[in-house]
């Protein structure tokens, strides 16, 4: 009975205060901001910007971590740290491109399916989404990439094609239950248009879970991109993709462990950052678990 003041009210000020007291979420925000800054300014802050792509210096190949190359060098003598810094660019680009394609599409489909619940529109959209969800997204993305020429662009398209149904399903589950809420009926009775109801009445109530999912997904999209290139079906050498770096380095295990371990750990760090941030976003909007 004695709950804290209702979280429903959009009291963003208090939520922000709460977020600012959540150290884990702040750490997440810090990690994400750091990765973004490094990615944007990589050409200026990387110790060896020229090592990012084509570069060969065999005499310095396979140097373990030292003061000159903090994370060591790879089989071509390239500085692992510099390559990781450039790798952030591809990772973030992957997340930004995929999510900016997928989120609007998935959300609108989910809203429409929820609004026209019980009709043909809903059936077509949700059955379609179910088909795309019938296989783990990585598996379908792998197969799409395999029949196309492996490249960063194709990887992005393949992942996007697999990812929209998650948003459709999330938004559908909220909007279809809000469809019967009295406040939606009240708007209909007032004579509001479907457009108003979908985007002004229902959508604002989905924003919290959507943004939470977007934050969490940024990490997972980066992971799936890295997984594609780890297998060899995503970004191709010499592009400094974190997944490619891990798989290249894996050939030199266990002796030259640093070549794959450091890129692998940065993947962990990025995902951890987005996960922690995502929990903070959830608190911020007082949203239910996604």
């Amino acid at each position: 009975m004695k709950r804290a003041a209702s979280r429903k009210g959009a009291d963003y000020g208090k939520s922000w205060h709460k977020f600012s007291k959540n150290y884990l979420s702040q750490a997440g925000l810090g990690v994400v901001a750091l990765v973004a800054v490094v990615a944007i300014f990589a050409p200026y802050i990387a110790p060896y910007p020229s090592h990012a792509e084509f570069f060969v210096n065999f005499p310095e190949a396979h140097e373990p971590p030292n003061w000159v190359h903090i994370f060591g060098t790879d089989q071509f003598g390239r500085d692992v740290l510099s390559r990781i810094m450039f790798g952030f660019r591809y990772s973030l680009m992957m997340a930004v491109v995929v999510l900016s394609l997928v989120v609007p599409l998935g959300v609108v489909l989910g809203l429409v399916a929820g609004y026209y619940r019980g009709g043909k529109v809903e059936m077509v959209i949700m059955r379609g989404a179910d088909i795309f969800l019938a296989v783990p997204p990585l598996v379908l993305a792998l197969s799409i990439c395999s029949v196309l020429t492996p490249s960063v662009f194709n990887a992005m398209m393949a992942v996007s094609l697999m990812w929209w149904p998650w948003y459709t399903r999330l938004v559908y589950s909220i909007s279809s239950s809000l469809r019967n809420e009295a406040f939606v009926q009240a708007a209909e009775i007032a004579g509001a248009s479907p457009f108003h109801i979908i985007f002004r009445e229902i959508l604002p109530n989905c924003l919290g879970p959507i943004l939470t999912k977007v934050t969490l997904d940024a990490g997972w999209v980066i992971l799936i991109g890295a997984s594609l290139s780890f297998v060899g079906l995503g970004a191709q050498p010499p592009i400094p993709d974190l997944g490619t770096m891990v798989s290249d380095g894996a050939n030199f295990l266990p002796e030259q462990w640093w070549v794959s371990l450091f890129p692998a750990l940065t993947i962990v760090l990025i995902i951890l950052g987005f996960n922690l941030l995502g929990d903070g976003v959830r608190d911020l909007f007082g949203a239910e678990a996604v």
């Binding site: 009210g9 959009a10 009295a182 009926q185 009240a186 007032a190 109530n205």
Partner: protein, 325 residues
């Protein structure tokens, strides 16, 4: 009475198809509401009283029967009603916590009906919203606040304000105070009564609270399992209830003064409970709980008769109308 009918409901049916059978939520209901009148619809949960209100509002179209508002047929869903009709007909829902969008400010909520119906010149909407807020006695600075931060009374005031915004003639009040505490309820009810006089409104007041009904309605209909079983003017209804269910309900009402206790009819102990909507008893649906049950009750559905002038009842105990007079 020479009053003019504003809303007429005739033979209204609303069936819902479920996977386990057909639920007859409203089954052949007829009544009318006069101009400036408060017509009360009473019933327990599952009686179909809210469904009647929702069908009138067009939240879903009726299965059969007709609804007429000011001479115009409105027996269709809200999507197929004209804008003019939507303006005339409004509703206040039971729980303001769910009838007000938690993500829209009180100002936005009040502005929506104004905008939809172009009720103010462009640029004058906020002025009009402030007027509404004065009317419902909310401080003007609340215009930027969200409903979640307000108490139940304030929230319901906003819902009433929204209903009044289009200048309606008829408002369905669907248990407008049952989510509120008694001390708050009084204020909301008084506000509604004041607006009724001020704006020439007619109300369909839906509630399960008989004591409240006594104080607000001019005429009362009582519903049981989708049917109206008794309908009468309020004083007559409370002083001379006819249907056994009405008597049972009145006997069960908790009261606090000896005067109220004295008013109660011959005590009928409440027994049993309302049947499931999927297996409505045959004949009179109240017969399994009725202390006066006769053979005929389980076989024949009683028809509504005008037992006295203005006092209708559907019960085999009152087989025919008494001479009109």
């Amino acid at each position: 009475m020479s009053a003019e009918e504003i809303l007429t409901v005739k033979g209204l049916k609303k069936y819902f198809k479920t996977t386990r059978g057909i639920v007859k939520a409203v089954d052949d209901v007829s009544f009318s509401v006069m101009k400036n009148e408060t017509f009360g619809l009473v019933g327990e949960s599952g009686s179909g009283k809210s469904t009647v209100g929702h069908v009138i509002m067009g939240i879903y179209g009726p299965t059969a029967g007709s609804i007429t508002l000011m001479g115009k047929d409105i027996s269709v869903g809200v999507g197929r009603r004209s804008k003019e009709l939507k303006k005339r007909l409004q509703i206040v829902f039971q729980d303001p916590a769910s009838s007000l969008n938690p993500r829209r400010t009180i100002g936005q909520i009040l502005e929506l009906p104004l905008r939809v119906h172009h009720l103010a010149p462009e640029g004058k909407y906020s002025e009009k919203v402030f007027e509404m807020m004065d009317l419902i006695e909310l401080p003007r600075e609340f215009v930027v606040r969200y409903p979640g931060e307000q108490g139940g009374g304030e929230k319901q005031a906003v819902a009433i304000g929204r209903a009044l915004a289009t200048g309606p003639s008829f408002i369905v009040l669907d248990e407008p105070t049952s989510a509120l505490d008694v001390s708050i309820q009084a204020k909301i009810i008084n506000m509604l009564m004041r607006f009724q006089k001020e704006f020439d409104l007619s109300y369909l007041f839906i509630t399960h609270n008989l004591s409240l009904m006594r104080n607000v309605a001019q005429r009362v209909g009582i519903m049981y399992l989708g049917k109206i079983v008794e309908l009468a003017g309020t004083p007559e209804f409370f002083s001379n209830p006819l249907h056994p269910y009405t008597k049972m309900l009145l006997s069960a009402v908790p009261v606090i003064t000896p005067e109220e206790e004295a008013l109660k009819p011959e005590k009928i102990m409440s027994t049993g409970e309302i049947a499931g909507a999927l297996n409505v008893p045959p004949g009179c649906s109240f017969h399994p709980r009725c202390p006066f049950v006769m053979d005929i009750c389980s076989k024949v559905v009683p028809t509504m008769v005008e037992y006295k002038k203005g006092h209708h009842v559907a019960c085999h105990l009152y087989p025919s109308a008494v001479s009109s007079g």
